[in-house]
């Protein structure tokens, strides 16, 4: 049954009101031959035929599970995903992941979100986590939005490190363009080795937020305590964009004094999947909870005194606060937040730390070996987590073509984003890479060097 709420009479009244004769007139700017063109489609296939054709097409894809060994990271990381994650995601009870407005019938979903929030808080050290954003980039943009609102629009400067992920910075530029904010530090030509000190001079009394990444886009780990102190001294807030896996190993951004900790949740049990859908996590301190965007689940007791879960503090969201809401985001990545929650609860504190340690040691093994190959050098003398930059003897695209012939997906071409890093490759190593695979990468790189 098609449900069309308007009667022909009502439609006629609306057309008269806007001064057109028929519905067709609304489309007259589109040339008539383009309006309903003959599409020249092949005849419909049966399900069996369609499955065969799609199967045939998918052979052209290569994936990091069965075909390729990956050393590509740059924001999306190839980690092992325990089978239980997928199994729980596929349960029918979770397949309608839409907003659980009615607690009477949504206790399971609400509890899973509450547990996700609790786990993310434990990982970041922060007081409160929302029930997620679309991805790391939009979580960063929402942090800027929140800081802008915190100062009621009276502070117009954001300071961002050039070593924050280039795509996050791009998303941030898109978000803030209408607010007329001044984005300081967003310069790919800046000295990338300067560390957090380089940002200190950019923070002034007009700065709403200072944004840094941990580890940064190049895998480097800095202690931002001093920088955050300086930001606070100027009355500004500080946001740390963190890799959740790294948080199992390093000092928490909360300990450094961060007011907001956000990041890309993909490393927590979410497959690479050609770049999405992913999950943005967002945490802050309790005093800023009313300025935070997104869904929030709280624990309470029902009328019989039993523990229960419910969406809470919803009046800050746009469906209630309308145009005065701080953000227009109140949707979340429910199913992916569930995946992250299941992943974290399966691994536990020691399991996640083990993953992080494996990443760290394997990456350092790889860097040490690559640094000894003729023609290559590891640039930047800064402590790193599981990603590092390599100065190459040839263009990265050329090297990657050669690696692909060996079944290796090479690193990220940094020259795309940073002019000074032409012929520099960003290599990521995770627990998925065996010693043999790392050695094979080193050998293949040596071959290119000799050509």
């Amino acid at each position: 049954m098609t449900y069309i709420p308007h009667s022909p009479k009502e439609r006629e009244a609306m057309l008269t009101a806007i001064g057109v004769k028929s519905l067709e007139d609304l489309f007259k700017d589109i040339p008539s031959k383009q309006r309903f063109p003959k599409l020249d489609l092949p005849p419909a296939l049966t399900e069996m035929e369609a499955a065969a054709e799609l199967g045939e097409l998918s052979i052209g894809n290569e994936n990091v599970r069965t075909d390729l060994v990956s050393f590509l990271g740059a924001g999306a990381y190839n980690h092992y995903i325990p089978a239980a994650v997928d199994h729980i995601l596929r349960r029918g009870e979770f397949s309608t992941a839409y907003t659980p407005y009615q607690p009477e019938i949504s206790q399971g979903t609400l509890q899973s979100i509450f547990e996700y929030q609790s786990l993310i808080c434990a990982l970041t050290g922060m007081d409160v986590s929302n029930a997620s954003h679309y991805d790391g980039a939009t979580a960063v943009a929402e942090a800027a939005n929140m800081a802008y609102a915190q100062f009621r629009g009276k502070r117009n400067r954001l300071v961002i490190s050039p070593t924050v992920h280039p795509q996050y910075r791009e998303t941030l530029r898109t978000y803030v363009q209408g607010l007329g904010l001044d984005l300081a530090g967003d310069d790919p030509n800046a000295n990338l080795e300067a560390g957090p000190e380089a940002l200190e001079g950019l923070i002034d009394g007009n700065t709403a937020l200072v944004i840094v990444q941990y580890p940064d886009f190049f895998g480097h780990v800095y202690d931002f305590t001093n920088l955050i102190d300086i930001a606070h001294g100027k009355g500004a807030l500080a946001c740390v964009v963190a890799n959740p896996t790294a948080l199992a190993l390093f000092k928490s951004p909360c300990e450094m004094g961060a007011d907001i900790v956000v990041g890309e949740g993909q490393p927590l049990g979410i497959p690479l999947s050609f770049g999405g859908p992913y999950l943005g996590f967002f945490t802050t301190r309790k005093q800023y909870i009313h300025k935070m965007a997104g869904r929030l689940v709280g624990e309470t007791v029902d009328n019989r005194g039993q523990r229960a879960f419910v969406l809470t503090l919803t009046a800050r969201e746009q469906h209630i606060k309308r145009e005065r809401a701080i953000s227009n985001i109140c949707s979340n990545q429910g199913l992916l937040a569930l995946a992250a929650g299941v992943y974290l609860s399966l691994l536990g504190q020691s399991g996640l730390r083990q993953v992080a340690e494996l990443c760290y040691h394997k990456a350092h093994y790889a860097a040490e070996k690559i640094g000894r190959v003729k023609g290559y050098s590891i640039c930047f003398d800064t402590p790193f987590f599981h990603e590092f930059s390599v100065c190459c003897p040839k263009p990265v695209s050329e090297i990657n073509e050669h690696l692909l012939e060996h079944g290796i997906l090479g690193g990220y071409d940094l020259g795309q984003d940073y002019p000074s890093l032409k012929d520099h490759m960003l290599i990521a190593v995770t627990e998925m890479n065996t010693r043999d695979e790392i050695d094979a990468l080193v050998d293949a790189l040596a071959e290119v060097s000799h050509d």
Binding site: H290, L313, R316, I320, K321
Partner: protein, 125 residues
């Protein structure tokens, strides 16, 4: 319903005390909003306010509202304690629930308690 005889009122349910220059949210308004969980005063001492200008943002468990200045004047005090205790607006809207104080205000265009009582009764039907 609690309507204080010595205060003046607006059609958007704010009160003003001509004696002290204080203003806030009426008892009628707080009861409509139900449990208030957040309040933020959005003006600072020294700023000028005028009718229609938002002085506070209030959120309850089910609704969100702006509180507007009831009269024109210069802000001489802001109730800083309110942010940490938003429930004060429910418990004591005319006392500890004051939001800001202004000086030099003219309240003659506002409703007195009798007019406001009538105004609230009309809306109750």
């Amino acid at each position: 319903m609690n309507i204080q005889p010595k205060l003046m009122y607006t059609k958007t349910d704010e009160w003003f005390d001509p004696a002290s220059g204080a203003m806030g949210l009426s008892d009628f308004a707080q009861s409509q909003l139900s449990d208030i969980v957040f309040v933020e005063i959005v003006v600072a001492v020294g700023e000028m306010v005028a009718p229609g200008k938002a002085i506070a943002s209030v959120e309850s468990v089910k609704a969100a509202a702006e509180t507007y200045a009831s009269v024109s004047g210069k802000v001489i005090a802001v109730n800083e304690a309110l942010a940490g205790n938003p429930e004060t607006l429910n418990n004591d809207p005319y006392g500890q629930g004051w939001m800001i104080k202004v000086e030099g205000a003219d309240a003659s265009s506002l409703m007195d308690a009798t007019e406001y009582t009538k105004y609230c009764e009309e809306r109750a039907h």
